[in-house]
Amino acid sequence: MINSLKNTFPQIEQNSCLEFRIDKEFEIYDCDENDDNCTMGRCYVKENGQFKVINHGPKEIAFLAVDKCLFFNNDGFKKCDCIIFEDSTICFIEIKDCKNGQRAKRKKTAKEQLKSTLQIFKEAMDLEREHEAYLCVGVSSTRPSTLSSSMDSIVEFEEKFDTRLFDGCQKEFKLRPY
């Protein structure tokens, strides 16, 4: 997978988009527009990030910055913020803070970014793992927690990308009995 990624997207090394984390827990921070605290344009591993990764497994987790690292705005297509993966699962993640409201609109945009990135990766290479996609939009849960529109999106991601879609800002890699 790593070699395949580097061969398919040689800019990964050139732009230092890929890193490996051995931490049992780490957080991913994505800069919102007009964010004074943002030291990097792209999302990166940082304390008090918006997306939390918990690793119960023995292996390290790969973190790949996608937006503004692997791909840039002038590439002309939508992309999600980052990807994390280990041997069994690859997770596509889009983070939106929604500090300025418009949560419903931003969630729609986030879905499109995830779909576009899945499309690009699935066309470019064999991902060889279970696919998951995360809409990390805002903090609080909606009521009902699974809206009718979410149900439709879940089915769409299953049908088009064979991918499990989640509303949430946390991924837990479980210890697998093998």
């Binding site: 419903a104 805002g138 903090v139 609080s140 009718s148 529109s149 149900m151």
Partner: protein
């Protein structure tokens, strides 16, 4: 199969609406978006398919439903398949007789009494005001004698509700039991009961719905329900949708007007159950263990629209489910408002 279609232009709040009429239909929209007006037009137009009216009586129907918004600019067209069978243009009505149901064609014969009686309606409208009926049913005759003007559609519903009460003497609904032993009683437990008029707002609002849906599904073709969620706890909303879907058969047309995200989610569950049960026999068996077949909705025979600024937009996706819609957006925005406050709290909770 080509679905029936309704086209409405310049009618009250409706600027230009073109919708397909399926077996099961859901309409959403903000207050004042014209959902009720559209529901009432559908009631009138679907009924025309089976009961031919003289033109004056068609116009009278719009009065009866308190929606006489017809102007010279109004256009209403009703298509069965691709054929227009009813057209109101420039204040005049045109009908294509051949496309009507045989019963209606019969009515067009010379000397036939073609003024319909309300009880012959094949389309029944369950209004949002239904809780008033269970509350005031005893007083209705006094209202009428006193000359208190009540909308005719409400009186028609009251009359139908009375018939349903006479036919269905006992009904279990929402963990309650309705018993009509001369008095309308609501049992909350084996021995604990109260008169309907003293029961909860949920019981008063839902009993007329539960009774009439069951009654109408067996006797009439189309059922139009405004706000089935009225006064109900979310779990009861979902149970009510399942009850409604269970009652209607392939012979019925059902129209639901709603403001509730729970209603939309419940419909999506039944649509998805219907969709995946068709894929293979394993899935069919597994779905059957969760939902009886009479709860499955076939997305081929389902339509969903959002009404805004007098225009209808489909909210059914290519997956056959209810997709992005403004009711769900509001749930997102409410969660977003909480996020905003949470961000303020997190950023400043340690400030002096």
């Amino acid at each position: 199969m080509t679905k029936d279609k309704l086209y409405i232009k310049n009618f009250g709040p409706l600027k230009e609406v073109k919708i397909e009429l399926s077996q099961i239909n859901v309409l959403i929209g903000a207050n004042g978006s014209g959902k009720s007006v559209l529901a009432k037009i559908i009631t009138i137009i679907l009924d025309l398919r089976n009961h031919m009216l003289e033109d004056d009586n068609v116009f009278k129907k719009f009065d009866d439903f308190n929606i006489n918004f017809i102007t010279k600019e109004t256009v209403i067209k009703f298509y069965v398949g691709d054929t227009i069978i009813f057209e109101l243009v420039d204040g005049h009505i045109n009908k294509t007789i051949d496309a009507f149901e045989p019963v209606a064609q019969e009515m067009l014969r010379p000397n036939h009494e073609n003024i319909i009686k309300t009880e012959k309606l094949t389309t029944q409208y369950i209004p949002a005001e239904r809780s008033l009926i269970s509350l005031f049913s005893k007083s209705l005759s006094s209202f009428l004698v006193s000359g208190i003007p009540l909308p005719k559609f409400l009186l028609n519903f009251s009359s139908e509700y009375e018939k349903a009460r006479q036919e269905i003497k006992k009904l279990d609904f929402l963990n309650m039991r309705y018993v009509n032993n001369g008095k309308d009683l609501i049992y909350y437990s084996q021995d604990g009961y109260t008169d309907l008029e003293y029961s909860s707002s949920g019981a008063q609002s839902s009993l007329p719905l539960y009774l009439t849906v069951k009654y109408f599904a067996s006797k009439h073709k189309s059922i139009i329900i405004e706000e089935p969620e009225q006064n109900l706890f979310p779990k009861a909303q979902v149970d009510t949708i399942k009850y409604i879907i269970k009652q209607v058969s392939a012979k019925n047309n059902l129209f639901i007007m709603t403001h509730s995200p729970y209603v939309l989610s419940a419909l999506n569950i039944l649509l998805f159950a219907g969709n995946i049960a068709k894929i293979n026999s394993v899935m069919r068996e597994k779905v059957l263990k969760l939902y009886n077949e009479d709860l499955w909705i076939d997305s081929e025979f389902f339509s969903a629209y959002y009404l805004e600024n007098g225009i209808a937009r489909t909210i059914k996706s290519s997956r056959g489910l209810i997709s992005e819609n403004e009711i769900d957006d509001i749930s997102e925005e409410i969660a977003g408002e909480f996020d905003t406050l949470l961000n303020i709290y997190r950023s400043h909770k340690n400030d002096k």
